[in-house]
């Protein structure tokens, strides 16, 4: 029913509610565009991690900042663009986390970016005009998923 091309955007202010809102928004769109549960999970996970990081790390001041999410649907692909005007941060430049050997060492962090890189099919990063822009892409499921 939905046309093959669509673009939906959301602008959130960087407070902790942004994480749940980004996630809920994507799940709703995933359902209406019938993207299938696996891709929706991936979108949800990647957006949750990226937005959580922007809220936690991108800004030093207390002023409100905008986090921009764009979901771009094309016949063959689904893209999610996450942008902010915080400090420069390229998630692709972060080294792979060292797998912890024991429970005691575990959870020292570095998991969020790793999950994004693993659960997105393609990740690209651009810094332009003082903004970070992370673009995630997946192939579009060819038929309604479960």
């Amino acid at each position: 029913m939905h046309s093959a091309h669509a673009r939906r955007s959301l602008r959130l202010i960087n407070d902790s509610g942004a994480i749940s809102a980004a996630s809920a928004w994507l799940r709703t769109l995933g359902e209406s565009f019938e993207l299938g549960s696996e891709l929706v999970f991936r979108l949800d996970l990647c957006a949750s991690e990226l937005v959580a990081n922007i809220v936690s790390y991108a800004f030093e001041d207390e002023a409100p900042h905008t986090i921009a999410l764009d979901l771009i649907l094309e016949p063959q692909s689904v893209k999610l663009v996450v942008a902010d005007d915080g400090r420069e941060f390229d998630p692709l430049a972060l080294p792979e986390p060292v797998a912890p050997a024991t429970l005691e060492e575990a959870a020292v962090g570095g998991l969020g970016v790793h999950l994004v890189r693993q659960f997105a099919d393609q990740v690209s990063y651009e810094r332009a005009s003082g903004r970070n822009q992370v673009t995630l892409a997946w192939p579009r499921p060819s038929r309604p998923g479960v």
Binding site: S16, I19, S20, S23, S37, E38, F41, D44, L45, S48, E49, A52, A99, P100, T102, L103, E104, A106, A107, L111, G112, H114, L115, Q118, F119
Partner: protein, 113 residues
Amino acid sequence: MKMDSQPLDGGITLIRLDGRLDIEGAQTVDQPFTYATSTHPARIAVDLSDVSFVASIGIRTLLSGARGQASRGGKLVLFGAQPMVRRVLHTAGVDQLLVLCDDLDAARKALTD
């Protein structure tokens, strides 16, 4: 996110998590889960079959429960994770640190070994 806990025979405690282990779910469940997993030595099987989503913050919750229990001298295993949740746990290396079982039977075995 909901959590309940019940004793099984063989001295095993079953903890069932139900919902999304996202920021909201982790916040909800952190305190009761820590309490249930980390206050006294036990053999704990955590049922993930009704967990539909997990993010890094939720993994932290699971690992800190397991760590708390290990420090008490007991053991905590996970079982029943849905495919995508399992994939997240695997990608995060959780399966290197904790036993991930398919079902309760396997979890029992892992706890009584």
